[in-house]
Amino acid sequence: MRFTLIKDLRQDATMKPILAGLLLFIFLFLLSDIFVKYSNFGIFPHALKLTLFGDEEQFLDPLSQSSFLEFWHVEIFFMMMILLTLNAVFIRLTPPDTSQIIVINLVMISAILSLISLPLSFFLSDSFIELYVVCFFTWHLFALYMALYSFWNLYYEKSI
């Protein structure tokens, strides 16, 4: 990635708006992802249980195994690419201290845990749904923070 090679991104008149655009789109993707999941898949335990396991009383069919696996597969791909890109920008635009490492670890661990808890909920026990919900919100919040903080540093922080 070219932006990992340029010495001072904030002084580069071309890379600065390119990175700002990238961060804006990552921010919009993360927000949209919350809304789309809210309406199509569920982001709270009750809605998630209905989507995954259906409900006989409401005549809702459970999600088929092949639909679930397709959803999970696509989800993993998008998350890994988004988070790798966001991490690369965040590392370049924030001071290389302990808090930077902590944020990267938190966002990645919660994202991976959310992906692992999803099949565990579907195949093993619905008690993993709560873990999925917690991890889903954790990684989204930290990723949104990373995008905003990187954006702030790109334009306003002079001390890095």
Binding site: S66, L69, E70, F77, L84, N87, N105, M108, I112
Partner: protein
Amino acid sequence: MKKAYKHSILYFLLFSLLLLSSGLMLFEHKIGLNVNSVLDYYLGNQDKYTAAKSMDGVLKIVLPHIFAFGLFSMVILHFLLFTSSRNKAEIKIIVYLTFTSALLEIAAPFFIILGAGFFAYLKIGSFVLFESLIIYISWLLFKSIIHD
């Protein structure tokens, strides 16, 4: 390499293993990991009441995979440039093998539909080879991050 990059790549490798696992589960569930089930999936089977796949149908499944295979292979392979083994002949072979196996995996269904049943072997072989190569690349990167 910065410590933060090392952490980031390590997590990327974990994501990659999850992607491989989900791909394997999907392949096993939808197509099956033996030659007859691959042929049944693409050519249909009257006894199982499954219809043959059309060229359009396969193209719809293949289209996002062309982009995803290319991007994923490029991203994971380019990390090898930051390891001490970047100039070894082995790395060049791995790069060619990864893209070739991805290409064969994507192209094989079209040949099966056109009547070349032999490509069912190639479909399974290229899938297994691609997954094995990604695991091996992940291992090389993991070793490099830990030791370098």
